[in-house]
Amino acid sequence: MAGSNEKVLIKGNYAIAQAAINAGCQCYFGYPITPQTEIGEYLSAQMPKLGRGYVCAESEIAAINMVLGAAATGVRAMTSSSSLAVALMQEALSYAASDELPIVLVNVMRVGPGLGYIYPAQGDYNQSVYGGGNGDYKIIVLAPATVQECIDFTYRAFYLAQKYRNPVILLADGLLGQMMEPAYFRENPYPEVDVSSWALTGAKNRDSRAIYSLGPDEKKQIQHIYNLFKKFEIIAENETSYEEFETEDADIILTAFGSMTRNIKAAMKVLRSKGIKAGCFRPITLSPFPNKRINELAGQGKDFLVVEMNMGQMFKDVKYSVGGQSRTGLVNRPVGEWLSVEEIVEAVENFMEKSYAASIQYS
């Protein structure tokens, strides 16, 4: 299933799994957890047929450490899991970032904190963007909004991971994982990445290599961390991506990530029909975050209203990016039905009413 223009009605989880195969994923290691178990289920059937590796590990911690091992040999490797189990993987993510290992982790979010439940939510923005591992490191985070993007962003995740030797998280949610939508599997558009200069492939006819994160030499460790952050500056320069709709003449810009994107786009249409100049801004890369563009738009006096299914995690990044140039509001719910178009419209109307005095101040 690659290189076809024919649309198929497919679940987000299966779409991610098939896209991983198309992207050349050689090894999958995982441990089942709702709402993403279909990814492992699909790959358990398909990977052996293709002569590729599939291991149902004994735990999530084992799974991600197996991914680290595989990635160190230069092959494309991934795991997938959900919120509370991704929490278990944070130590390995910190190692992978320090070791510069190109791993792909799919997180199909469910509600927390703690055990929470299997309902979809968006509460892992902070866990993904800021990480729960130790030390200074950064992860690339991609947030798909549709099943089609689950496919396209999986291709991109594998490419970015190897291109920059950096862990990539594909941040989906239970809604996206469980829903079906028409989508098609285009060819993986990204080129192969040469890994021969660093991959551990056996030191035949070359000097031996080692990949480790131990840094007893203080000077070297300082340089190592600076290098990691310089690399991430380049990533931010090249790879920051976002979508915006009708922002040009907008007074207020609705902002959301992931599957909430379609709700804000629909709300924008309703608001426009009521004569309210609304626009939409949707970060595709949550890390690197498109703070420059938000800052620019805020500089033109446009207010931001962040819509998310958590207690206001991306809100803080938007507010920071706005930098006090205009107002930033939040409409949210921690779990449950995705905020409806009607609720978003109402929130905007309230926000605009209250903002009247404030908006004059900034105009």
């Binding site: 009605l9 809604l175 829903m179 939508e181 379609r262 786009k265 629909a266 039905e337 409806s340 178009v341």
Partner: protein, 181 residues
Amino acid sequence: MEKNFILAGFGGQGILLAGTILANSFMLEGKNVTWYPCYGAEMRGGTVNCEIVVSDSEVSSVHKQDTDYALVLNQQSFDKFVHRVKSGGTIISNSTLVAESRPRSDIEYVFAPMTQIANELGNSKVTNMAALGVLASVCDVVSKEYLAKGFEKVMAGKKKELLPLNIKALERGYGAHTQAK
């Protein structure tokens, strides 16, 4: 145009499959569609449902609080979803297993003996296809012809011998209802 549907019934009545066939029929017609199942700690004999949104443009929201159409195959689902139908919407019920009642005055009620139709055809498993037939006859957006194509698409290569019986159930469901306000 955007319409949403909730399909609900007992686990085993083919609800998720019926939803998949319906969603495929919309896709084959060139419309935008999403399908979202309830998922949870379900058990045999419990209720199951899925939500389908069809739209000419982008689907606005996948998981909504209310619905234009509810297709319910058992009493529990009727009791639960009759309150989630939008004012002016329609609830379509399997009268073999759902007692005829009209707890609200602002929605349309459609009753059809879906399980009975399937039993008369000799296989209660085609209740879901009879139900889709009823849905097609009361809902302009749903096409019987595309439902048949949707069935073929979902069952492609798997169980082709089941096609004639299922198409028969679809046909028998079509128009087999009583409607009242």
